[in-house]
Symmetry: C2
Subunit: 387 residues, 2 copies
C-alpha cells in the first residue's frame, strides 16, 4: 500500500546519507572515544567533526554543543542548569503551549520544589501575550524558557526579541528549538541573548535517541547527567557515537535543504491548506498563518473526531497526527489548542499535517484527493453535523 | 594492521545480528511509536518485543523495564527516584569503588544537597567491608547503591546478600549491573530485595546510547526525564527505537552466550593471567581472583606507567585500558585501585584486559607474545626499575 507520511513533526525518516555515515561505527570502528588507544581515539575525531556540523545549523561554535539523548533531555538539562546556577531565584517564565518536556518539568518544579512558574498565555492565533511576558520578568526570575516554534501549529515565537529583553534584565534564556531546526534559519551569534537552545536529531532526519543542547560560551554549565568526564564534564555517559555522527550529517543536510523548505515545501503546504479549506466546508486553520513554520498545517474539521479521522486516513495510507504525538493517548483537545481557545468543535476535529523535504507534490495530490470523502463520511455519521 | 580488542569493559562491537535487527527501523519503518497511525504503531510492537527480551536477561517482567539512554542515566534515575520517594531520609550508602555515574552523583548530593553519604570501603582484594556496610544502614537511609561487579577489577559484590539485608530493613536497594550483565547470571525474581538495577547496551554488543533500568513492580517510579507519557510515564522523550530493538536482540544473544563466557572466555582470561604472571616478573593481579567476572584481568606491572604501556600496546594493535575509560584523562591511579590501597608502583602500571565472546584463542596468543617485550622495553628506560 502507498504510504504518504506527513507526520514529520512527530519524527522523520533517517536519510540514507545519514545512515551511510553511521554504519562504519557500529561493528568496525566501535571503540570508546574516551579510550587511550587510537582505535577509540579515531572515533573521538569523528565526533569532533559531528560537533562542528551540528554547531553550524545555528551558527554556534563546536565547543558550545553538548550532545544529549533527546530533546526532552536537552530541555530538562537546560532548565535544571539555570536553576542550579541561580540557587536564590525561585521563578520561571514559560508559555502555556510548550512541549511536555518543558511544561511537565515546570509543573513538577511548581508542585514539588517550591518554584513559582508563569505560564504566559497565547491569543487565538497562538501568539504570545507580550505584555504579560514583559511584566512577568522579575529579579526573582531564574530562567525564561520559550519554544522557538510550536510543534502542533508551527507558530513561531519572537525568540530574538524576548531573548534580547531577557539579556537586558540579566535573566538566562533557553529556547526549545526542536521544531524550528531545519525549517527556518537560526543564528545564535546574532542573538547573544539566547543562552541555551535545544535541538533534536529525529526531527531532522537523524535517528531517534540523539539530540544536542547549545550552551553559550561562558556559562558554567552544571551537568544534568552526573557521571564521567564526557562532553567536557557537561554530560556523563559514553558518547552515543553512531547517532552523534548521524546527527552531524543530518544537520549539514538540513542546512542545505533550508531553501527547499522555504520555497517548495512552503508551496506544497500552502496548496494543501487552500485546497482543503476550499473543498471541505466548516474547516479552519489553527495558528497565525503569517508566522508559521513552512512545513506545518494544523486544520480543524468541525463536528468530527480527530482520532476517527486519523483512523480512516491510516486506512488510506496517510500518516498524520491529531495533536502532539508526545501527548497522544488522551481524547481531550491538546493543551496547545485549549490555550488558544480554539472552539471545542474544531479543536476535536484537528489534524496536523507536517511535511519534510521528503514530501512530494504527488503526496499532496493524494491527500487532497482522499481527505474530502473521509471528512464527509464521518460527518454523515456525526450527530453534531447539521447540513 | 591486526587489531586485538581486549577493552570490552569500555565498550563492545555491535554484533552483526544486532545491527541486522535494527536496520529496517532507520529509513523504512521509522514511525514514532506514540503516533496513532499503524505506521508508528508497528514500531511500538517491536519495542514491546525488545522489552521482553531485555527483561529476560535478569528474569524480570517486561513491564519492569524502563529504557534509558545510558548506564549513567539509569544510575542517576534510580538514585534520584529513591530520594524522591523518601523525601525525609537524608542518607545514602554506596561503596568507594563505584562507577562515576554513582560516585559523582553521590558526591554532588553530599556537597550541594545536604545528603550524608557513606562510601563503604573495600579491602586490598576489592571486597566490601561488610561490617561497615551493615552498621551504616539506618532509619535515615534512603537508598543503598552498590555495583554488582566492578568495571576495573571485575570483583563481584555480594549483591544478593546485601539486598536481602536492605529489604529486611525497608531500605530501597539499587545495583549498577552494567558490567555484570552478559558475564554472569542474574535473577531479580530470586532476589526481591533488588528494587532497581541498571543495564547498559554497549557493554553487551548493542550500540552505545541505549540502556535500561529495571524497576521492581510496585515501586511508584518518578521519572528522571520529565516530559511526555513514554515508558508509561517513567521516562519522557521519543523512544530510541532502533537502539532499543538492538538492545533486545543483544540481551537475547548475551543470555545464549553466558555458558561460553563462563567456560571458554574464563579459560582464555585465566591463561592470559598465568602466562603474563609467569613471563613478567614483578607483576600482580588486582582484585579477588576467586570472586571475579570471567572476562576481566587487571594486572599491575611494577615500576612503569600504564599510559606508556598502552601506547606501545596500541602500536602493536592491542586495545586495552589502564583504568576505567570513563575516568581517563588523569594520570593518577584510578579511585578503585586507590580504594584497594594497591601499592603505588603497581597501581601506576596497571592494565585492564577485558575479553568478550568475540575474543579468540589467537588473540590471547598474540597478547602473550607481545606483552613481555613491551614491559621489558619500558622497564629498561625506567628510573624506578632495579634488576
Amino acid at each position: 500500500m502507498r504510504i504518504v507520511y506527513t507526520d514529520n513533526n512527530a519524527t522523520t525518516r533517517v536519510l540514507p546519507e545519514v545512515l551511510e555515515e553511521m554504519l562504519p561505527y557500529f561493528s568496525d570502528q566501535y571503540g570508546n572515544p574516551s579510550s587511550m588507544h587510537s582505535f577509540g581515539g579515531n572515533v573521538g575525531k569523528k565526533i569532533d567533526e559531528a560537533r562542528e556540523k551540528t554547531a553550524s545549523i545555528i551558527n554556534a561554535d563546536a565547543s558550545e554543543i553538548v550532545f544529549t539523548s533527546c530533546g526532552t533531555e536537552s530541555d530538562n538539562a537546560a532548565i535544571m542548569a539555570a536553576l542550579e546556577l541561580n540557587p536564590d531565584k525561585k521563578h520561571i517564565v514559560t508559555s502555556s503551549v510548550e512541549h511536555p518536556a518543558v511544561r511537565n518539568l515546570c509543573r513538577f518544579l511548581e508542585e514539588k520544589k517550591g518554584y513559582r512558574v508563569t505560564f504566559v498565555p497565547v491569543d487565538s492565533k497562538g501568539n504570545l501575550d507580550m505584555d504579560m511576558l514583559h511584566t512577568s520578568m522579575s529579579r526573582d526570575t531564574a530562567v525564561i524558557s520559550l519554544m522557538w516554534a510550536n510543534n502542533e501549529t508551527g507558530v513561531i515565537f519572537p525568540v530574538e526579541e524576548v531573548s534580547r529583553k531577557a539579556r537586558e534584565k540579566g535573566i538566562l534564556f533557553h529556547t526549545d528549538a526542536v521544531q524550528a531546526a531545519g525549517k527556518i534559519p537560526m543564528d545564535v551569534k546574532n542573538n547573544p541573548g539566547i543562552d541555551m537552545l535545544s535541538l533534536s536529531g529525529h526531527k531532522i532526519h537523524a535517528p531517534k535517541g540523539v539530540a544536542a543542547l547549545y550552551v553559550k560560551k561562558g556559562i558554567k554549565f552544571p551537568p544534568f547527567m552526573k557521571g564521567g568526564h564526557q562532553e567536557k564534564g557537561r554530560r556523563g555517559g559514553t558518547e552515543n557515537t553512531t547517532s552523534i555522527i548521524g546527527l552531524g550529517r543530518a544537520c549539514e543536510l538540513a542546512l542545505g535543504h533550508l531553501q527547499d523548505m522555504d520555497t517548495r515545501i512552503r508551496g506544497l503546504r500552502d496548496r494543501l491548506q487552500s485546497e482543503l479549506l476550499s473543498m471541505i466546508p466548516a474547516s479552519s486553520v489553527n495558528g497565525d498563518i503569517d508566522r508559521r513554520l513552512p512545513n506545518t498545517l494544523s486544520i480543524g474539521f468541525n463536528a468530527i473526531e480527530g482520532e476517527s479521522i486519523l483512523l480512516l486516513m491510516d486506512q488510506a495510507g496517510i500518516c498524520a497526527s491529531s495533536g502532539s504525538a508526545c501527548t497522544s493517548g488522551s481524547l481531550d483537545p491538546s493543551h496547545v489548542l485549549m490555550a488558544m481557545k480554539v472552539p471545542f468543535e474544531s479543536a476535536h476535529g484537528t489534524i496536523r499535517f507536517s511535511l519534510s523535504t521528503d514530501t512530494s507534490s504527488e503526496d499532496i495530490d493524494y491527500i487532497i484527493e482522499k481527505m474530502p470523502p473521509i471528512v464527509q463520511r464521518l460527518r454523515d455519521m456525526s450527530p453534531f453535523w447539521k447540513k
